[in-house]
Symmetry: C2
Subunit: 210 residues, 2 copies
DNA sequence: GTCTATAAGAAGATAGAC
DNA sequence: GTCTATCTTCTTATAGAC
Protein backbone atom coordinates (compact mmCIF):
# COMPACT_ATOMS: atom_id res chain seq x y z
CA UNK A 1 0.00 0.00 0.00
CA UNK A 2 1.88 3.01 -1.27
CA UNK A 3 1.23 6.54 -0.18
CA UNK A 4 -1.16 8.28 -2.51
CA UNK A 5 -1.47 12.02 -2.31
CA UNK A 6 -5.04 12.20 -3.63
CA UNK A 7 -6.84 9.08 -2.33
CA UNK A 8 -9.93 8.88 -4.48
CA UNK A 9 -12.38 11.70 -3.96
CA UNK A 10 -10.38 14.91 -4.21
CA UNK A 11 -13.04 16.70 -6.18
CA UNK A 12 -15.35 17.06 -3.22
CA UNK A 13 -13.50 20.25 -2.46
CA UNK A 14 -16.05 21.85 -4.77
CA UNK A 15 -18.09 22.75 -1.76
CA UNK A 16 -15.13 24.55 -0.23
CA UNK A 17 -14.34 26.18 -3.54
CA UNK A 18 -17.86 27.53 -3.69
CA UNK A 19 -17.61 28.95 -0.17
CA UNK A 20 -14.24 30.51 -0.89
CA UNK A 21 -15.37 32.14 -4.13
CA UNK A 22 -18.66 33.24 -2.61
CA UNK A 23 -16.84 34.95 0.24
CA UNK A 24 -14.68 36.79 -2.23
CA UNK A 25 -17.58 37.92 -4.42
CA UNK A 26 -19.79 38.87 -1.48
CA UNK A 27 -16.93 40.94 -0.10
CA UNK A 28 -16.34 42.69 -3.40
CA UNK A 29 -19.83 43.21 -4.79
CA UNK A 30 -21.99 42.71 -1.72
CA UNK A 31 -24.45 39.88 -1.05
CA UNK A 32 -27.35 41.40 -3.00
CA UNK A 33 -24.94 42.49 -5.70
CA UNK A 34 -23.76 38.93 -6.29
CA UNK A 35 -26.04 36.55 -8.20
CA UNK A 36 -25.87 32.78 -8.34
CA UNK A 37 -25.03 33.24 -12.00
CA UNK A 38 -22.04 35.45 -11.18
CA UNK A 39 -20.87 32.88 -8.67
CA UNK A 40 -21.28 29.89 -10.97
CA UNK A 41 -19.50 31.64 -13.84
CA UNK A 42 -16.61 32.58 -11.59
CA UNK A 43 -16.39 28.92 -10.55
CA UNK A 44 -16.76 27.55 -14.06
CA UNK A 45 -19.85 25.59 -13.02
CA UNK A 46 -23.52 25.81 -13.86
CA UNK A 47 -26.10 27.23 -11.52
CA UNK A 48 -27.64 23.81 -11.10
CA UNK A 49 -24.35 22.44 -9.87
CA UNK A 50 -24.36 25.02 -7.08
CA UNK A 51 -27.82 23.93 -6.05
CA UNK A 52 -26.57 20.40 -5.69
CA UNK A 53 -24.17 21.55 -2.97
CA UNK A 54 -26.32 24.20 -1.34
CA UNK A 55 -30.08 24.50 -1.05
CA UNK A 56 -30.14 28.27 -1.59
CA UNK A 57 -28.07 31.39 -1.91
CA UNK A 58 -28.88 32.20 1.69
CA UNK A 59 -27.62 28.76 2.66
CA UNK A 60 -24.19 29.64 1.31
CA UNK A 61 -24.18 32.84 3.31
CA UNK A 62 -25.33 31.08 6.45
CA UNK A 63 -22.52 28.56 6.25
CA UNK A 64 -20.00 31.34 5.67
CA UNK A 65 -20.91 33.33 8.74
CA UNK A 66 -21.99 30.57 11.09
CA UNK A 67 -18.62 29.96 12.73
CA UNK A 68 -17.50 33.53 13.34
CA UNK A 69 -20.94 34.61 14.53
CA UNK A 70 -21.05 31.79 17.07
CA UNK A 71 -17.48 32.55 18.15
CA UNK A 72 -18.19 36.25 18.62
CA UNK A 73 -21.40 35.51 20.47
CA UNK A 74 -19.40 33.25 22.75
CA UNK A 75 -17.08 36.11 23.62
CA UNK A 76 -19.96 38.52 24.12
CA UNK A 77 -21.76 36.17 26.48
CA UNK A 78 -18.81 36.06 28.84
CA UNK A 79 -18.67 38.40 31.80
CA UNK A 80 -16.61 41.50 31.00
CA UNK A 81 -15.88 44.50 33.20
CA UNK A 82 -15.22 47.07 30.51
CA UNK A 83 -14.81 50.09 32.77
CA UNK A 84 -11.03 50.05 32.41
CA UNK A 85 -9.07 50.67 29.24
CA UNK A 86 -7.00 47.50 29.75
CA UNK A 87 -10.06 45.28 30.02
CA UNK A 88 -11.58 46.87 26.94
CA UNK A 89 -8.37 46.10 25.07
CA UNK A 90 -8.55 42.43 26.07
CA UNK A 91 -12.21 42.30 25.14
CA UNK A 92 -11.48 43.72 21.69
CA UNK A 93 -8.64 41.25 21.19
CA UNK A 94 -10.93 38.37 22.11
CA UNK A 95 -13.52 39.53 19.61
CA UNK A 96 -10.88 39.86 16.90
CA UNK A 97 -9.62 36.37 17.66
CA UNK A 98 -13.17 35.07 17.35
CA UNK A 99 -13.54 36.87 14.04
CA UNK A 100 -10.38 35.19 12.80
CA UNK A 101 -12.07 31.79 12.90
CA UNK A 102 -13.42 32.37 9.42
CA UNK A 103 -12.15 33.13 5.98
CA UNK A 104 -10.83 36.65 6.10
CA UNK A 105 -13.01 37.89 3.28
CA UNK A 106 -16.09 37.00 5.26
CA UNK A 107 -15.35 39.90 7.58
CA UNK A 108 -16.49 42.33 4.90
CA UNK A 109 -19.88 40.61 4.79
CA UNK A 110 -20.70 41.50 8.38
CA UNK A 111 -21.53 45.08 7.47
CA UNK A 112 -23.44 44.29 4.31
CA UNK A 113 -26.84 45.94 4.83
CA UNK A 114 -28.60 43.15 2.95
CA UNK A 115 -27.03 40.52 5.18
CA UNK A 116 -28.02 41.80 8.61
CA UNK A 117 -31.71 40.80 8.39
CA UNK A 118 -30.71 37.33 7.16
CA UNK A 119 -28.40 36.85 10.11
CA UNK A 120 -31.28 37.65 12.43
CA UNK A 121 -33.32 34.74 11.17
CA UNK A 122 -30.57 32.15 11.03
CA UNK A 123 -28.38 32.90 14.01
CA UNK A 124 -30.38 35.42 16.01
CA UNK A 125 -27.77 38.14 16.23
CA UNK A 126 -28.36 41.71 15.15
CA UNK A 127 -25.74 44.10 13.92
CA UNK A 128 -22.55 42.60 15.30
CA UNK A 129 -20.64 45.85 15.15
CA UNK A 130 -23.49 47.80 16.72
CA UNK A 131 -23.68 45.36 19.61
CA UNK A 132 -19.95 45.66 20.15
CA UNK A 133 -20.18 49.44 20.17
CA UNK A 134 -23.03 49.43 22.69
CA UNK A 135 -21.10 47.05 24.90
CA UNK A 136 -18.01 49.23 24.87
CA UNK A 137 -20.08 52.36 25.39
CA UNK A 138 -21.62 50.77 28.48
CA UNK A 139 -18.11 50.33 29.79
CA UNK A 140 -17.24 53.95 29.07
CA UNK A 141 -20.39 55.20 30.78
CA UNK A 142 -19.97 52.72 33.62
CA UNK A 143 -23.55 51.48 33.37
CA UNK A 144 -25.13 48.04 33.05
CA UNK A 145 -28.13 48.98 30.93
CA UNK A 146 -27.73 49.89 27.25
CA UNK A 147 -30.45 52.50 27.71
CA UNK A 148 -28.33 54.38 30.25
CA UNK A 149 -25.39 54.83 27.90
CA UNK A 150 -24.38 58.45 27.33
CA UNK A 151 -24.77 59.45 23.66
CA UNK A 152 -21.26 60.92 23.49
CA UNK A 153 -19.89 57.59 24.68
CA UNK A 154 -21.93 55.75 22.11
CA UNK A 155 -20.65 57.72 19.10
CA UNK A 156 -17.16 57.35 20.44
CA UNK A 157 -17.57 53.59 20.74
CA UNK A 158 -19.09 53.41 17.26
CA UNK A 159 -16.03 55.23 15.92
CA UNK A 160 -13.74 52.89 17.85
CA UNK A 161 -15.41 49.76 16.54
CA UNK A 162 -15.30 51.28 13.07
CA UNK A 163 -11.54 51.68 13.39
CA UNK A 164 -11.11 48.07 14.47
CA UNK A 165 -13.43 46.70 11.85
CA UNK A 166 -11.80 48.59 8.99
CA UNK A 167 -8.35 47.65 10.23
CA UNK A 168 -9.24 43.96 10.34
CA UNK A 169 -10.93 44.23 6.98
CA UNK A 170 -8.18 46.27 5.35
CA UNK A 171 -5.57 43.81 6.60
CA UNK A 172 -6.32 41.40 3.78
CA UNK A 173 -5.74 44.17 1.26
CA UNK A 174 -2.53 45.49 2.73
CA UNK A 175 -1.12 42.09 3.70
CA UNK A 176 -2.59 39.67 1.14
CA UNK A 177 -0.19 36.86 2.06
CA UNK A 178 -1.17 37.01 5.74
CA UNK A 179 -3.69 34.27 6.46
CA UNK A 180 -4.36 34.75 10.17
CA UNK A 181 -3.66 37.53 12.65
CA UNK A 182 -0.56 37.16 14.78
CA UNK A 183 -0.64 38.27 18.41
CA UNK A 184 1.20 41.41 17.38
CA UNK A 185 -1.41 42.10 14.71
CA UNK A 186 -4.20 41.74 17.23
CA UNK A 187 -2.40 44.08 19.62
CA UNK A 188 -2.02 46.63 16.86
CA UNK A 189 -5.67 46.53 15.86
CA UNK A 190 -7.00 46.60 19.41
CA UNK A 191 -4.59 49.49 19.93
CA UNK A 192 -6.44 51.48 17.29
CA UNK A 193 -9.73 50.75 19.01
CA UNK A 194 -8.59 51.76 22.47
CA UNK A 195 -6.91 54.84 21.01
CA UNK A 196 -10.35 56.11 20.00
CA UNK A 197 -12.03 54.97 23.20
CA UNK A 198 -9.44 56.71 25.35
CA UNK A 199 -8.79 59.71 23.09
CA UNK A 200 -8.90 63.04 24.91
CA UNK A 201 -10.60 64.66 21.93
CA UNK A 202 -13.52 66.94 22.81
CA UNK A 203 -16.73 65.01 23.13
CA UNK A 204 -19.64 66.31 21.04
CA UNK A 205 -21.63 69.10 22.65
CA UNK A 206 -24.38 67.58 24.69
CA UNK A 207 -26.25 70.75 25.58
CA UNK A 208 -27.82 71.33 22.17
CA UNK A 209 -29.32 67.87 22.11
CA UNK A 210 -32.47 66.92 23.96
CA UNK B 1 -50.77 90.93 -3.86
CA UNK B 2 -50.93 89.14 -0.56
CA UNK B 3 -48.34 86.79 0.75
CA UNK B 4 -49.20 83.20 -0.06
CA UNK B 5 -47.32 80.45 1.65
CA UNK B 6 -47.77 77.86 -1.10
CA UNK B 7 -47.82 79.80 -4.40
CA UNK B 8 -49.19 77.32 -6.85
CA UNK B 9 -46.93 74.35 -7.54
CA UNK B 10 -46.02 72.92 -4.17
CA UNK B 11 -46.31 69.35 -5.38
CA UNK B 12 -43.11 69.50 -7.36
CA UNK B 13 -41.40 68.50 -4.16
CA UNK B 14 -42.03 64.95 -5.33
CA UNK B 15 -38.54 64.92 -6.80
CA UNK B 16 -37.09 65.85 -3.43
CA UNK B 17 -39.30 63.36 -1.68
CA UNK B 18 -37.96 60.65 -3.95
CA UNK B 19 -34.37 61.61 -3.23
CA UNK B 20 -35.00 61.74 0.50
CA UNK B 21 -36.70 58.36 0.61
CA UNK B 22 -34.15 56.80 -1.72
CA UNK B 23 -31.32 57.97 0.52
CA UNK B 24 -33.04 56.41 3.49
CA UNK B 25 -33.70 53.07 1.78
CA UNK B 26 -30.24 52.90 0.21
CA UNK B 27 -28.72 53.54 3.62
CA UNK B 28 -30.83 50.85 5.27
CA UNK B 29 -30.97 48.09 2.67
CA UNK B 30 -28.11 49.02 0.36
CA UNK B 31 -28.35 50.17 -3.25
CA UNK B 32 -28.61 46.70 -4.79
CA UNK B 33 -30.93 45.66 -1.98
CA UNK B 34 -33.41 48.42 -2.80
CA UNK B 35 -35.64 47.97 -5.84
CA UNK B 36 -37.58 50.62 -7.70
CA UNK B 37 -40.66 48.80 -6.52
CA UNK B 38 -39.58 49.11 -2.86
CA UNK B 39 -38.96 52.79 -3.40
CA UNK B 40 -42.23 53.50 -5.17
CA UNK B 41 -44.23 51.60 -2.56
CA UNK B 42 -42.55 53.51 0.25
CA UNK B 43 -43.47 56.73 -1.55
CA UNK B 44 -47.01 55.68 -2.38
CA UNK B 45 -46.33 56.11 -6.09
CA UNK B 46 -46.08 53.76 -9.04
CA UNK B 47 -42.83 52.78 -10.67
CA UNK B 48 -43.78 54.70 -13.79
CA UNK B 49 -44.14 57.88 -11.75
CA UNK B 50 -40.56 57.51 -10.58
CA UNK B 51 -39.40 57.18 -14.14
CA UNK B 52 -41.07 60.47 -14.97
CA UNK B 53 -38.76 62.22 -12.50
CA UNK B 54 -35.62 60.17 -13.04
CA UNK B 55 -34.38 58.33 -16.09
CA UNK B 56 -33.05 55.35 -14.14
CA UNK B 57 -32.29 53.96 -10.71
CA UNK B 58 -28.67 54.91 -11.22
CA UNK B 59 -29.78 58.44 -12.03
CA UNK B 60 -31.29 58.76 -8.56
CA UNK B 61 -28.07 57.54 -7.01
CA UNK B 62 -25.98 59.90 -9.14
CA UNK B 63 -28.01 62.91 -8.05
CA UNK B 64 -27.72 61.84 -4.41
CA UNK B 65 -23.96 61.63 -4.36
CA UNK B 66 -23.05 64.30 -6.89
CA UNK B 67 -22.70 67.19 -4.47
CA UNK B 68 -20.72 65.51 -1.70
CA UNK B 69 -18.43 63.73 -4.15
CA UNK B 70 -17.60 67.00 -5.91
CA UNK B 71 -17.10 68.74 -2.58
CA UNK B 72 -14.77 66.03 -1.30
CA UNK B 73 -12.88 65.99 -4.56
CA UNK B 74 -12.43 69.72 -4.22
CA UNK B 75 -10.83 69.25 -0.81
CA UNK B 76 -8.63 66.42 -2.04
CA UNK B 77 -7.36 68.45 -4.98
CA UNK B 78 -6.03 71.14 -2.70
CA UNK B 79 -2.43 71.12 -1.58
CA UNK B 80 -2.08 69.51 1.83
CA UNK B 81 1.06 68.89 3.85
CA UNK B 82 -0.12 65.99 5.95
CA UNK B 83 3.15 65.24 7.70
CA UNK B 84 2.01 66.89 10.91
CA UNK B 85 -0.84 65.75 13.14
CA UNK B 86 -2.35 69.24 13.21
CA UNK B 87 -2.53 69.47 9.43
CA UNK B 88 -4.06 66.00 9.20
CA UNK B 89 -6.71 67.12 11.67
CA UNK B 90 -7.56 70.15 9.54
CA UNK B 91 -7.65 67.98 6.43
CA UNK B 92 -10.05 65.54 8.05
CA UNK B 93 -12.27 68.39 9.21
CA UNK B 94 -12.37 69.80 5.70
CA UNK B 95 -13.39 66.44 4.30
CA UNK B 96 -16.11 66.06 6.90
CA UNK B 97 -17.39 69.53 6.11
CA UNK B 98 -17.52 68.58 2.44
CA UNK B 99 -19.40 65.41 3.31
CA UNK B 100 -21.94 67.47 5.23
CA UNK B 101 -23.13 69.11 2.01
CA UNK B 102 -25.51 66.22 1.42
CA UNK B 103 -28.35 64.48 3.16
CA UNK B 104 -26.86 62.71 6.14
CA UNK B 105 -28.19 59.32 5.11
CA UNK B 106 -26.23 59.52 1.89
CA UNK B 107 -23.04 59.04 3.87
CA UNK B 108 -23.89 55.38 4.35
CA UNK B 109 -24.05 54.91 0.58
CA UNK B 110 -20.39 55.77 0.10
CA UNK B 111 -19.27 52.39 1.34
CA UNK B 112 -21.89 50.37 -0.47
CA UNK B 113 -19.91 47.85 -2.54
CA UNK B 114 -22.45 47.99 -5.37
CA UNK B 115 -22.18 51.75 -5.57
CA UNK B 116 -18.42 52.19 -6.00
CA UNK B 117 -18.27 51.03 -9.63
CA UNK B 118 -21.19 53.28 -10.51
CA UNK B 119 -19.45 56.28 -9.01
CA UNK B 120 -16.49 55.57 -11.24
CA UNK B 121 -18.54 55.97 -14.38
CA UNK B 122 -20.50 59.02 -13.38
CA UNK B 123 -18.10 61.11 -11.34
CA UNK B 124 -14.78 59.40 -11.91
CA UNK B 125 -13.84 58.82 -8.28
CA UNK B 126 -12.91 55.48 -6.84
CA UNK B 127 -13.37 54.41 -3.27
CA UNK B 128 -13.61 57.72 -1.45
CA UNK B 129 -12.59 56.25 1.87
CA UNK B 130 -9.70 54.34 0.34
CA UNK B 131 -8.37 57.47 -1.31
CA UNK B 132 -8.58 59.32 1.98
CA UNK B 133 -6.69 56.56 3.74
CA UNK B 134 -3.95 56.51 1.13
CA UNK B 135 -3.64 60.26 1.36
CA UNK B 136 -3.28 60.19 5.12
CA UNK B 137 -0.88 57.25 4.95
CA UNK B 138 1.31 59.24 2.58
CA UNK B 139 1.45 61.93 5.24
CA UNK B 140 2.39 59.41 7.91
CA UNK B 141 5.13 57.92 5.75
CA UNK B 142 6.24 61.34 4.59
CA UNK B 143 6.22 60.37 0.93
CA UNK B 144 4.64 61.87 -2.18
CA UNK B 145 3.96 58.66 -4.08
CA UNK B 146 1.17 56.27 -2.97
CA UNK B 147 3.43 53.38 -3.97
CA UNK B 148 6.01 54.41 -1.38
CA UNK B 149 3.58 54.26 1.55
CA UNK B 150 4.61 51.89 4.32
CA UNK B 151 2.05 49.08 4.80
CA UNK B 152 1.86 49.64 8.56
CA UNK B 153 0.96 53.28 7.89
CA UNK B 154 -1.66 52.26 5.40
CA UNK B 155 -3.53 49.90 7.74
CA UNK B 156 -3.34 52.56 10.41
CA UNK B 157 -4.78 55.16 8.08
CA UNK B 158 -7.51 52.75 6.97
CA UNK B 159 -8.44 52.24 10.61
CA UNK B 160 -8.41 56.00 11.20
CA UNK B 161 -10.67 56.74 8.24
CA UNK B 162 -12.91 53.90 9.40
CA UNK B 163 -13.26 55.59 12.77
CA UNK B 164 -14.18 58.91 11.17
CA UNK B 165 -16.55 57.37 8.69
CA UNK B 166 -18.43 55.34 11.28
CA UNK B 167 -18.58 58.30 13.64
CA UNK B 168 -20.05 60.53 10.94
CA UNK B 169 -22.43 57.79 9.90
CA UNK B 170 -23.42 56.84 13.44
CA UNK B 171 -24.12 60.46 14.28
CA UNK B 172 -27.52 60.33 12.62
CA UNK B 173 -28.47 57.34 14.73
CA UNK B 174 -27.27 58.72 18.04
CA UNK B 175 -28.39 62.30 17.39
CA UNK B 176 -31.40 61.96 15.08
CA UNK B 177 -32.48 65.58 15.57
CA UNK B 178 -29.08 66.91 14.54
CA UNK B 179 -29.23 68.03 10.93
CA UNK B 180 -25.69 69.27 10.31
CA UNK B 181 -22.41 68.96 12.15
CA UNK B 182 -21.45 71.81 14.45
CA UNK B 183 -17.83 72.88 14.69
CA UNK B 184 -17.59 71.02 17.96
CA UNK B 185 -18.96 67.89 16.31
CA UNK B 186 -16.37 68.11 13.55
CA UNK B 187 -13.61 68.58 16.11
CA UNK B 188 -14.82 65.52 17.97
CA UNK B 189 -14.91 63.31 14.91
CA UNK B 190 -11.58 64.47 13.54
CA UNK B 191 -10.26 63.88 17.06
CA UNK B 192 -11.16 60.20 16.72
CA UNK B 193 -9.33 60.02 13.41
CA UNK B 194 -6.16 61.66 14.64
CA UNK B 195 -6.29 59.53 17.78
CA UNK B 196 -5.77 56.47 15.61
CA UNK B 197 -3.24 58.13 13.34
CA UNK B 198 -1.14 59.27 16.28
CA UNK B 199 -1.75 56.28 18.56
CA UNK B 200 1.40 54.81 20.06
CA UNK B 201 0.02 51.30 19.67
CA UNK B 202 2.49 48.75 18.31
CA UNK B 203 2.53 48.77 14.55
CA UNK B 204 2.01 45.35 12.92
CA UNK B 205 5.14 43.25 12.59
CA UNK B 206 6.76 44.07 9.31
CA UNK B 207 9.41 41.35 9.30
CA UNK B 208 7.13 38.43 8.50
CA UNK B 209 5.75 40.19 5.44
CA UNK B 210 7.57 40.41 2.15
C1' DG C 1 -21.57 15.60 -9.38
C1' DT C 2 -22.47 18.04 -13.21
C1' DC C 3 -25.19 19.03 -17.05
C1' DT C 4 -29.47 21.09 -20.17
C1' DA C 5 -33.82 22.90 -19.96
C1' DT C 6 -37.24 25.32 -17.81
C1' DA C 7 -40.35 27.20 -14.53
C1' DA C 8 -42.03 31.30 -11.77
C1' DG C 9 -41.31 35.51 -10.44
C1' DA C 10 -38.92 40.15 -9.71
C1' DA C 11 -35.88 43.32 -11.72
C1' DG C 12 -35.29 47.82 -14.53
C1' DA C 13 -37.52 50.32 -17.95
C1' DT C 14 -41.10 52.10 -21.62
C1' DA C 15 -45.75 53.28 -24.12
C1' DG C 16 -49.58 55.55 -24.00
C1' DA C 17 -54.14 56.86 -21.57
C1' DC C 18 -55.85 60.36 -18.38
C1' DG D 1 -47.65 64.33 -13.00
C1' DT D 2 -49.50 60.01 -12.25
C1' DC D 3 -51.64 56.00 -13.82
C1' DT D 4 -52.29 50.91 -16.15
C1' DA D 5 -50.30 47.71 -18.97
C1' DT D 6 -46.56 45.72 -21.02
C1' DC D 7 -41.68 44.35 -22.44
C1' DT D 8 -37.26 42.41 -21.66
C1' DT D 9 -33.95 40.72 -18.96
C1' DC D 10 -32.35 38.74 -14.92
C1' DT D 11 -33.26 36.42 -10.61
C1' DT D 12 -33.66 32.19 -7.58
C1' DA D 13 -34.71 27.60 -7.87
C1' DT D 14 -36.21 22.81 -9.74
C1' DA D 15 -36.67 18.53 -12.88
C1' DG D 16 -34.55 15.14 -15.01
C1' DA D 17 -30.84 13.31 -18.31
C1' DC D 18 -26.02 11.71 -18.18
Amino acid sequence: MTIEAEPKAPRTDTRKRILKTAASLFATHGYAGTSIRDLSQELGLTKAALYYHFTSKEDILAELIEQPVLAIRGVMEQEWDLTSSEQRGLFVEAVLRAMSTCDREVVAVFKDPTVAPLIDQSVAMTGVTTQLAVRLAMGLSGVDDPADVEPRHLVRAIAAVGAGYEAANGWRVVYPECETFSDMDLKAISGYVTAVLDAESPDPEVEARS
